[in-house]
């Protein structure tokens, strides 16, 4: 289970953007969190991905309460979660070739030796052709870069995926392609998904259940 219990979070303790949020994702389940922009759902997604420490409340991952966030998160918890953000350009180091971008988590966890093979396999999974792997972010389209970011998120075979407006910048075909990659991955691994977004049609088509922001967090 990925559980968010009474999470309050933000960037200024006096004015939290998320108050008292509760949300549970079961293994293998796909949950859509639907809310307008600026409601705090991205902040909650960052908490769920262990990238932002909540001011109050807790995150419980597969039964173990999370004690540290960001680089303080224990490695086995951090690597259990893959994250994809809305804007691939903000999420990708512009100096890295796509192959190195995808391999980042592999290298950081000492899997350097097997990285090249795994990168090739992942590129195939997300539909990136080999010639694109040698390019840097400014040499590819938003859609191609987001494919690479998704490959990076899958590289350590996470049990949980958090997608924060993953397709908001993309055209219909690339959106459908990336959602299919996520769903194929989940079908073969049993991973759970928290997909945060503002597009009701997309989330209800994609996820097992979709919850509105008001039902998750206090106003």
């Amino acid at each position: 289970m990925l559980e968010l219990r009474a999470v309050t979070a933000g960037y200024d303790r006096r004015a939290p953007v998320v108050r008292d949020a509760h949300l549970t994702v079961a293994p293998g389940e796909a949950v859509g969190l639907l809310g307008p922009s600026g409601c705090g759902k991205s902040t909650l997604a960052r908490v769920a991905a262990l990238l932002h420490r909540p001011d109050a409340g807790e995150v419980v991952l597969d039964g173990t309460p999370v004690r540290g966030f960001r680089h303080r998160a224990p490695r086995e918890q951090r690597t259990a979660i893959g994250v994809v953000f809305q804007q691939p350009r903000l999420a990708a180091d512009p100096r890295l070739r796509l192959a190195d971008l995808i391999a980042e988590p592999l290298r950081a966890t000492g899997r350097r030796a097997s990285a090249a093979d795994r990168v090739r396999e992942l590129a195939g999974t997300v539909g990136l052709t080999p010639d694109l792997l040698g390019r840097r972010p400014h040499e590819v389209s938003d859609g191609q870069l987001q494919r690479a970011c998704l490959a990076r998120a899958l590289s350590l075979r996470p049990r949980w995926l958090v997608c924060d407006e993953m397709t908001a910048m993309l055209d219909a075909s690339t959106t459908a392609a990336l959602v299919r990659v996520v769903e194929d991955y989940r079908a073969s691994t049993g991973a759970g998904l928290l997909s945060v977004g503002h597009d009701r049609t997309l989330l209800t088509r994609w996820c097992d259940r979709t919850v509105p922001w008001e039902a998750v967090a206090a106003g």
Binding site: P36, S37, G38, Q86, G127, L128, T129, S141, D142, G143, Q144, A168, M169, L170, D171, A172, S173, T174, T175, A176, A177, V179, R180, H198, D199, R200, T201, L202, R205, W206
Partner: protein
């Protein structure tokens, strides 16, 4: 029947020359018209050349770009006009730009009022402090920008209000042609609808609108006609009602794009678009197309509403309805 076009684009091509003799064919042989009181939506995925086309119409291409063809706005050819002409008489006065991500387009340290007043001074004959103030407030109201937010800075506005501020600026010069470049990117669906409805109001007031977008729902809501761009070429240009409704698009790529929508079959078009730097000689969609045959190795000409050797047949009988393609997924 159709009113005289305001903008008439013929065989517009844009090439980028890169170091090492490489060449990128960003736009090839695009032809279309936009009339007053009409919205043409130019749709396609990112990197298909549609933003380059917009930059070409505004004379905002980088120095390594080469253009060919014509883009007539009245008696002026936008492609050959010199920069002083474009700066003094075209941008803002004859073509109003509604930009993508307006927050980035506005200067962060100045209030919205100061932006609008400056544009009023630059584009209209209004002089004097109180007259300028009044004109700025009228401009705000035309775009439904709330007057009590005029003294705010761009970062203090929601995405929707920033978009209205940008629209207000685009409307000040009373340009007959509006060019909106992905005006709904990053906005919530409600806000997309509202932004699009506001733009439509300006179309109904007699403006011609060329809207560039990858958002098919926004295009469906606003457009009279739709042009689909793939790999730098317009592959289909047709009536919006026929495109989004019955009989549906006729070009295999357009069909694939529509079918990818979550409210339809949610099936992606297989593969990736080609590189604009190394386009094939024939139809650029062939590697992804399930209707391709040998003759697709030759470039299809634009006929009727599509550029395709094997377009999905137009319905023969009036009773023919859209065939459900979902089962093929």
């Amino acid at each position: 029947m159709t009113p005289e076009p305001l903008l008439s684009v013929r065989d517009l091509s844009v090439r980028f020359l890169l170091p090492g003799g490489r060449r990128v064919d960003a736009v090839s042989d695009a032809s279309f018209d936009v009339a007053p009181g009409e919205c043409l939506a130019l749709i396609g995925e990112s990197g298909c050349g549609k933003s380059v086309l917009a930059s070409a119409l505004l004379g905002l291409l980088p120095a390594n770009a080469r253009t060919a063809g014509h883009a007539h706005l009245g008696d002026l050819d936008l492609l050959t006009a010199d920069e002083p002409t474009l700066a003094r008489t075209v941008r803002g006065r004859r073509v109003g730009l509604v930009p993508q991500s307006p927050a980035a387009h506005l200067t962060p340290v100045r209030t919205i009022r100061s932006h609008i007043e400056e544009t009023v001074t630059r584009l209209t004959g209004v002089r004097g402090r109180s007259a300028r103030r009044k004109a700025a407030e009228q401009a705000s109201l035309r775009a439904e920008f709330p007057l009590d937010h005029l003294d705010r800075h761009p970062h203090e506005l929601s995405g929707g209000l920033a978009q209205r501020a940008a629209t207000a600026l685009a409307l000040i010069g009373d340009a007959p042609l509006l060019l909106a470049d992905e005006p709904t990117t990053g906005l919530d669906r409600d806000l997309v609808d509202r932004t699009v409805d506001e733009l439509r109001r300006h179309v109904d007031d007699g403006h011609a609108l060329l809207m560039i977008t990858h958002d098919l729902a926004a295009a469906e809501r606003i457009a009279d006609r739709v042009a689909v761009m793939y790999a730098g070429r317009i592959v289909e240009l047709t009536d919006a009602g026929a495109f989004f409704g019955s009989p549906g698009p006729r070009h295999p790529y357009s069909r694939g794009l529509l079918e990818a929508l979550p409210e339809r079959s949610f099936t992606p078009v297989p593969g990736l678009p080609p590189e604009l730097g190394s386009l094939p000689e024939g139809c650029a969609f062939a590697p992804r197309c399930d209707r391709a045959t040998d003759i697709c190795g030759a470039l299809p000409f634009f006929e009727n509403t599509v550029a395709c050797h094997h377009p999905v047949p137009a319905p023969a009988a009036p009773h023919a309805t859209r065939t459900p393609e979902d089962t093929r997924a």
